[in-house]
Subunit: 331 residues, 2 copies
């Protein structure tokens, strides 16, 4: 316990985020004030949403220039400071990109007893519950339907596809590059995967989804959403989970065909975030645990070591280099 390493973002990006937007600084380890707990950072979740937080208020406060970069992860309690936590407890907290942080005890949640801890950020954490809630509560996927999922190699996308298969759907992924597509089909078990970088995505969707698309799980927005939209079946559901194609400084133009196709095809487009279904969390977790125990659900984690690697990890994720859930282990 020596210094607090922090990564700040002195100026917010107006275009594409790069590593040079971040700054590593060293400071003193903070002392908890009344009702605060001192935490040590263990494992940070790296998500496309981190970039969206730089664009203004979303479902949470925006990142301001000069802030320690915001981030959510698993921490251990260093100084409970009179709270009901014990030294060494593992907890979830919005600690940010720093080795130590002080956070109000009311904003900390105890981790369930599970090893490895990383699963609590991946398949049993936000990624797994996002995939499950989105597909079941919003998409209402049914056996025999066709599920199309973009960002398919990502933390949520690969689980959406796997859960879709377990629910009896035909699962088609969309990912960037043939290599990722091959991985999704050969390793992860998708029925097919389309490389959006190869062009003519709309046509490829039409050919591959020969009975049309019943549920489109959208992680990306933009042109890919538009291509999906034109291939939706009557009464199809579009699960709006993210818009990663729009986070990193690109234009915010909306998809052609809205609302015309929404009316004509009687489509439902619905947005959600993982915290919208607290009453369904246990059900989702139990189903996911059962699949893992039976060996039916594969866990893909992409853990990068060292807090100083966090900027590179996020920039790389926005460029689509990860497979599965990206995290940074804070050493």
């Amino acid at each position: 316990m020596t210094k607090n390493i922090q990564i700040t973002i002195p100026e917010l990006p107006s275009g594409k985020l790069t590593e040079s937007h971040f700054k590593l600084i060293e400071g003193e380890i903070p002392s908890p004030q009344k009702n605060q707990v001192l935490l040590k950072n263990i494992m940070l979740s790296i998500d496309a949403a981190n970039r969206a937080w730089m664009q203004g208020a979303t479902y949470r406060q925006a990142i301001e220039p000069g802030d320690v970069m915001h981030g959510y992860g698993i921490c251990s309690v260093v100084d409970p400071n009179g709270s009901h936590f014990k030294k060494g407890d593992f907890v979830f907290a919005e600690i940010g990109w720093q080795t130590y942080g002080v956070i109000s005890a009311t904003e900390i949640t105890a981790c369930p007893d599970h090893k490895p801890l990383s699963h609590l950020l991946s398949v049993l954490g936000i990624a797994g519950k996002t995939a499950h809630h989105g597909l079941v509560q919003i998409g209402k996927i049914k056996e025999g339907e066709t599920l199309l999922v973009s960002g398919a190699a990502g933390s949520v996308g690969n689980l959406v596809g796997q859960i879709g298969k377990l629910k009896g759907a035909k699962v088609i992924g969309i990912a960037g590059g043939q290599e990722k597509c091959d991985w999704l089909v050969n390793e992860v078990g998708f029925d097919a995967c389309l490389d959006y970088k190869a062009g003519k995505l709309g046509k490829a969707i039409a050919q591959t989804c020969d009975k049309g698309v019943d549920v489109y799980f959208d992680n990306v927005g933009g042109n890919i959403l538009q291509s999906a939209l034109f291939n939706m079946n009557q009464r199809g559901r579009i699960v709006c989970c993210g818009a990663v194609s729009l986070y990193d400084g690109q234009s915010l133009a909306g998809p052609v065909g809205i609302p015309g196709l929404i009316v004509v095809k009687r489509l439902k487009m619905e947005g959600f975030i993982v915290f919208d279904f607290p009453e369904k969390d246990v059900e989702a977790e139990n189903e996911i645990k059962t699949w893992i125990e039976r060996g039916e659900l594969k866990i893909y984690e992409d853990i990068i070591t060292g807090l100083s690697e966090a900027p590179k990890a996020l920039v790389g994720l926005l460029n689509g280099e990860n497979r599965g859930k990206r995290m940074v282990e804070v050493t």
Copy 2:
């Protein structure tokens, strides 16, 4: 019973529809073939959707160049031709823009016993049920919520607003021109109405809907949808009923903010047409009838006389000149 007057559309419009796209011709009154019934046209429904049918297949077949203009309305049976209908029965049919037509007996529906007949195309017909189903089944409007409706002076829009008031919502309309807005507030009973032609619609919505928008009933799409989108409350519902701004040869560009705002605000956008809720038709009709009997729901009809006026009636409707449900009485 002499000649059959027909209005055809020799060439489909590539841009704005004008009266010169139509052609009035005279022909013989057709003879019903086996299983067909000979009908005389009484009252045609004139709808923005008529224009959408020229753009390709929608929820029904497209209009082809040279067709007698497609149209739905109330007819009387001239020759039942052995079917279960009787001469003089009033029926609903897709007779098209002609004085006489032969239609398969299976594609004809008997009118309920109601006078005036026009109500069966307005408040007790497609317009009324579209407004009711959209607002109740899709929008799920609740007392105390704020309802925004575009195309507010139109056949569906004025009823959406009135039903919204009866359901306890604060109702804000959007219409073209101050005169229509004044009519909607002073006569129809809207709480407020915004003139989209006055510009800065987004700001006007924000100021008028001071608690945000819970349900937006969209009849128009385009820029107005976009302005509404940015003013939606968390978990708001966008009822996609039509896209009249996009029917008449304008660009199909989609609204900025989709899907970003859909995710962040957890919005639901859902399309429907009136025939999607057959199991709710009686419930909707009964509620509407009760309101009419109590004098709580005003009926606005805009009946134009003469089949030859139909082209002008439709072009005018697309230019927003109607108040309430436009029909053509076929003399």
